[in-house]
């Protein structure tokens, strides 16, 4: 473990390299059975973070974590359980996906000014055993909402795993 390669910030100039068509659509937007998971990324002053990137990993609706390729091309591929969303000028990220059978989305956060990636989870509303503060809310139109606060009074709970 002592030889682990350290992380560095994603910096400001990643969009042309890491964003790709359909990156945030694990299933096509508006598809039957789909749900939108979205939210805003904030800094410690409550300001939006317009140069963050969020990735999610999840099971399908039946609880199976897919091991299929095709996320970078999307069209013609099945559900791969992985997506990427670069925040816009308002700090907004979004995914079109399905509600996972295993009750959380695994989340990685990157941003300019953030020197290493952060891990967290977003649980479905009502999930049993959910970590306090990491539960999405259901909006009136059915979308799932979860805001990420890098710092401040509402700071998101971030994780350390045993071998990281």
């Amino acid at each position: 473990m002592t030889e682990t390669t350290p992380g560095q910030t994603i910096g400001p100039f990643f969009h042309h390299a890491l964003a790709f068509p359909g990156d945030s659509e694990l299933v096509p937007f508006g598809a039957a059975g789909s749900v939108v998971l979205h939210g805003y990324v904030h800094d410690g002053a409550g300001e939006p973070v317009p140069d963050a990137m969020i990735e999610i990993r999840q099971s399908d609706a039946s609880g199976v974590v897919p091991r299929a390729g095709g996320s970078l091309r999307r069209r013609g591929a099945g559900f791969t359980g992985w997506g990427r969303s670069c925040t816009d000028g308002a700090g907004h990220y979004w995914f079109s996906t399905v509600e996972p059978g295993l009750p959380f989305f695994a989340v990685t956060v990157f941003a300019r000014g953030l020197l290493d990636r952060l891990f967290t989870r977003i649980y479905l509303p009502g999930a049993e055993g959910a970590v306090d503060g990491l539960v999405a809310s259901r909006e009136a139109d059915g979308r799932l909402r979860f805001d990420i606060h890098l710092q401040g009074p509402s700071e998101t709970v971030f994780f350390k795993f045993p071998r990281t």
Partner: protein, 245 residues
């Protein structure tokens, strides 16, 4: 007020006098943009479950072989010093990470990114996007052909310059092994001045971000070769908690 390089370097030295750490300090004031973007609470210790135990999978339907050569993506030859960067992606137990996605991005030879947000008044190269992808092979090897990126100024402090670097994005076999980092070049005098690199306060750990010049990888009358290996954190899949003895 804009700080001088000397003030930034003094801040870095003061922090580094404390216990050195192999991972970057998230709270690292010499890199000014960290101020409001680092968590202040200790991370919560959790065991990975479900989707966290499996990285996303990528394959030949995701990446075309030509994407590993950043010198042939447009109509003509990009300007600059042609290089090849090769190395292995290993997990924390030294096992190769096979058939996994590696993404890179970088500035051109003049130190300018092909990104709308980069307004540094250095020329864009119409033949260079600075973006590449490949899959590792069965032994964990990746290989990119590119142009050596130039250093470039940024606004962190007065007369601040980033050392030449290539951004790397990596996946392991577990979701928890995800890594985004930067590869630096040997002998770069700007590294010691750079608050992003120096946020890794253990010099031995920072050295792991510096590629080696490898003459055996250089090609006669064609390009210069560099070697850079990447070690991800450990996989949880086969891991047993160490016993106390």
């Amino acid at each position: 007020m804009t700080s001088s390089q000397q003030e930034i370097s003094e801040e870095i030295a003061k922090i580094q006098a404390d216990s050195p750490r192999g991972a970057p300090l998230l709270d690292f004031a010499p890199y000014r943009s960290t101020t409001l973007r680092h968590p202040t609470k200790e991370p919560r210790h959790v065991d990975p479950e479900g989707a966290e135990l499996l990285a996303p999978v990528f394959g030949n339907s995701d990446v075309a072989a030509v994407e590993a050569d950043l010198t042939v993506q447009r109509g003509g030859e990009p300007i600059g010093e042609r290089i090849r960067v090769q190395g292995r992606v290993l997990d924390g137990d030294g096992r190769p990470v096979r058939r996994q996605l590696v993404e890179i991005w970088q500035a051109n030879a003049a130190g300018r990114y092909s990104h709308q947000g980069d307004q540094h008044p250095a020329p864009l190269d119409p033949n260079f996007t600075g973006v590449g992808r490949c899959l590792t092979d069965d032994d964990g090897w990746y290989s990119f052909t590119s142009i050596k990126p130039g250093p470039y100024p940024w606004r962190n402090h007065h007369n601040a310059w980033r050392p030449a670097h290539i951004h790397f994005s990596l996946f392991g076999t577990d979701f928890t092994q995800r890594l985004i980092t930067q590869m630096y070049f040997p002998g770069d005098q700007l590294l010691a001045l750079d608050p992003i690199a120096q946020s890794i306060t253990d010099p031995a750990a920072l050295a792991r971000l510096i590629a080696s010049y490898d003459h055996s990888r250089s090609e006669h009358e064609w390009l210069l070769g560099y070697r850079w290996d990447i070690v991800l954190t450990g996989s949880h899949a086969t891991y047993l908690e160490p016993s106390d003895d």
